[in-house]
Symmetry: C2
């Protein structure tokens, strides 16, 4: 399948089959797609925590519940495995530090790219994914020993989709997001 | 080619053939890979400015030169086209705003993912890409009419590689970036 066709077909999955478990072998292929990702100054400012034990999954499901019991993932208990993408301090070139005064300038984008690549690899393995961004950072530190100051940027849910019916992808039209040679 | 194999083979390109121009048709396929990308709350917080006229390219080459004439892209004059990825205000769910008090929490990661997808599509078209992050925001506003406050997150250089010799990809080993069920 060509890449654009994959982009058209892939979609976030919010309905997982709780009976079908993802193998460690597949999870490691997904992690590999993240590990190989490019990053600003090749800083690789990430750590990937694979959550696949029953106990750790229970904690993870709680760590994505925030104020007043709100969550972006009400379907979280169906999920076979999660991968926490934690931002680490980026070692960048002096030019970057001098210009932005911020070693982490590129890190969120780098992690976004790594997470996207994980989604693509999962798709090729026949697995569904959903990126979860609403995260209780204190619970993350407490449950998983993430050092204070290292932020969990995104949690990737991974599993077999319960429902493979096509979803219409809703995107802004080309004219709204693209222009040539100047802002328009 | 399977996705992991593409991840192994792709690399940033820093040596472009200045004689070979990328077609608008190919540039639009690359933009399409960005347009179709997922984003937090499907906010699509981006605008893609394709820079392919001689005049605009000249300005772009100056806009990625910062203090004291420093640049991350000394090879920029060889490049056939650029795509500026500009961050726009993200409309996110109330849950996200309440938790992070920041509508842009996910936007840099979303743009990182969109840019990664553009690189993959370019790769499948036989084109080389390099993400450029050191950008003079004031020049961007002045040259291209980008509204003040909308940040140019990344400039993607696109062209035919002058040198296709394999580069060894240097990445941290798996054990350093991956752990299971707790931080290690």
């Amino acid at each position: 399948m060509d890449f654009l066709e994959m982009m058209r077909q892939r979609k976030s999955c919010r309905s997982f089959d709780p009976e079908k478990q993802v193998s460690r072998e597949d999870l490691l292929k997904i992690v590999e797609a993240g590990r190989l990702s490019p990053s600003g100054c090749n800083s690789q400012p990430w750590k990937f925590i694979v959550i696949d034990s029953a106990e750790a999954k229970e904690k993870l499901c709680d760590a994505i519940v925030v104020e007043n019991g709100a969550t972006g993932a009400p379907w979280r208990h169906q999920v076979s495995a999660f991968i926490i993408l934690v931002e680490q301090e980026a070692k960048v070139m002096p030019l970057v530090l001098k210009h932005y005064q911020d070693s982490q300038r590129f890190a969120p984008g780098d992690i976004g790219a790594a997470c996207m690549n994980m989604c693509h690899e999962a798709f090729t393995l026949g697995l569904g994914t959903c990126m979860i961004g609403v995260i209780d950072q204190e619970k993350m530190e407490k449950y998983f020993g993430i050092p204070h100051g290292c932020e969990a940027r995104v949690v990737l849910a991974v599993g077999y989709a319960a429902d493979n019916s096509p979803v219409k992808k809703i995107r802004k039209p080309l004219e709204e997001v693209c222009c040539f040679n100047e802002w328009a």
